[in-house]
Amino acid sequence: MFGLAKKDVTLLLIVAALTMLAPFILNPFPVDSAMAQFNAGYPDLMQRFVIFGIFAIGFNILFGLTGYLSFGHAAFIGVGSYAAMWMFKLFGMNVLPALTLAVVMSGLFALLIGYVSLRRSGIYFSILTLAFAQMSYALAYSVLATDMDGPDEQGLLQKGLTGGETGLQLTLQDPRILGQQTTADGGIPVPNLFGLEMRSATEMVMGDWVFTFSAGYYFSAVVMLIAFYLSIRIFRSPFGMMLRAIKCNNTRMTYTGLNARPYALAAFVISGMYAGLAGGLMASMDPLAGPERMFWTASGEVVLMTILGGVGTLIGPVLGAGVIKYMENIVSKINSDILHSWFAFLPDGLEDLVVTMIYPFVGKGWHLTLGLMFMLVVIFLPGGLVEGGQRVARLFRRKKAKEGKKSTQSTPAE
């Protein structure tokens, strides 16, 4: 089916089911319960799960297959976001043209950066990509944000191409030549897919539970499924095999009559386009683009996601993106009051002690938990969470096999 092997179809269907049912799966606790803060099923966070999932899937095509560690992939997110925003400003609020321009622009940008950076490998490649990303950040933050129309004009470029540190925003003056400039009630229109507004959502109340179905989330989820499907195709193609060959042994590759550079460049551009798609989706969900999206910490984050989930595996990067975004948004919200309420059953002195001990790892200290988790995974599960899953599955299978053996052995005795 879909030109995939049976195993891959199963994986794709599982991912499809999980993303489609995510509003239920991520909201396991009733609204009023104490555990409700662990619910991740609200549109904003779910959108982030799938968008960063796309980013990580694309990053994995470069890093997982070719082994080239780019440390500047956030630049493409930024390019994608700005491109989508300009599409909204100039032509209209439909997301499809915006995403198309985001992918095309980030692809071109990746071609330029990749062409230069891929002249080196290893650490030098990483540093080159980092330098390019930081230059892009600086460009977006200040250089391209200077007034291009002169101080008196209040035109489109009043804050340059990127809007500087406040970011690029929609205004009522934007032309939007193919769409409506203002809504009927005089507001700024919102991103939509042929009229379906990205921010619209339906709530479903079931007893104590409330589930939210957001148009933006489902649109992003479908885009992610397409992106995931394409990545499976790439992994299973002869092209994907060549990329793995680059990672393995560049010397043999060259002396087998293959030019490794265009292969690596193609992988770089593809993963840049994935990042641009993610950036365009971010702008579609919340029409705003700021330079902080290109900052080097954002580039580092996708490296963490990929390694945490499992480098070079199909589903790993998506898992990694989910875990990191969950922690960023959920664990970071646990404050000392919440901790005190959890441990209220303990005697006073002990309660304070336990809270003091846990406090550095939650709330603003969520990075500490993430760091520890990352260290544990890298040391004990070099294959990431996917390897962890495989080990657990193997354990179960072995148990089953043992039980099966026992029962067959006992039959002849009777």
């Binding site: 030109g3 995939l4 092997a5 394409l230 195709r233 790439i234 299973r236 193609s237 002869p238 092209f239 994907g240 095999m241 060549m242 793995r244 060959a245 990672k247 393995c248 042994n249 010397t251 043999r252 590759m253 060259t254 002396y255 087998t256 009559g257 293959l258 030019n259 265009p262 292969y263 193609a266 593809i270």
Partner: protein
Amino acid sequence: MGILEVKNVNKRFGGLQALGDVNLSVAENTVHAIIGPNGAGKSTLLNCLIGKLIPDTGSVLFQGQSVLGRKPYEINQMGISRVFQTPEIFGDLTVLENMMIPIFAKRDGVFRMHAFEDTSNEREIVEQAESMLEDLNLQDQRHMHSASMSRGNKRRLEIGMCLAQNPKLLLLDEPTAGMARADTNNTIDLLKQIKDERDITIAIIEHDMHVVFSLAERITVLAQGSPLVEDTPENIKGHPKVREAYLGETA
């Protein structure tokens, strides 16, 4: 004229004359060995043939075409395959995948963007790779990661990967270095079989005289960057100049 013509090749590294006026002609469909003591310039010469180094002066012609200034992958596509001193294979890939890559390279050239085709649909290439593995007696290991094979089998696989491209000229750089006797003999047998079954020219650099005299039809002795003698194995064995180069003047 031979399939490979090396004319007046010079190569200096700073003050060291690594190759001085090397002339060499390898005749088609022969096994030509290049021997010489350490530092004689054997590896430098080999690297000049495959595009890794560019000689300061002189010319290297393969089938009448110059290889100088061409990239290693272009030279490979011309029909020269190289086997390395330590087997260079794709360790994280399966044995079958290792064998498929050179066949893809032969069919599709230096680059092709076949990103949305399914590898398992490439029946022809899979079949060719499998029959090649059968010839090498490696078919049982085809789903194994090639990194976990024995040293001798890695060498067999590497030679097989080179042969899968149907090269005109196969260059071997000390193919049995660091190998156990049994593996060395297996490799000799494999190379003999290749020589008998295929229209192929083999140039081999080797220290192990057992290997050289079991295979070579012509031998060139290099010493201090220049060819000393070129002759048949029988004549080389007792040649006084060769003894001198290997054992020193007093011998």
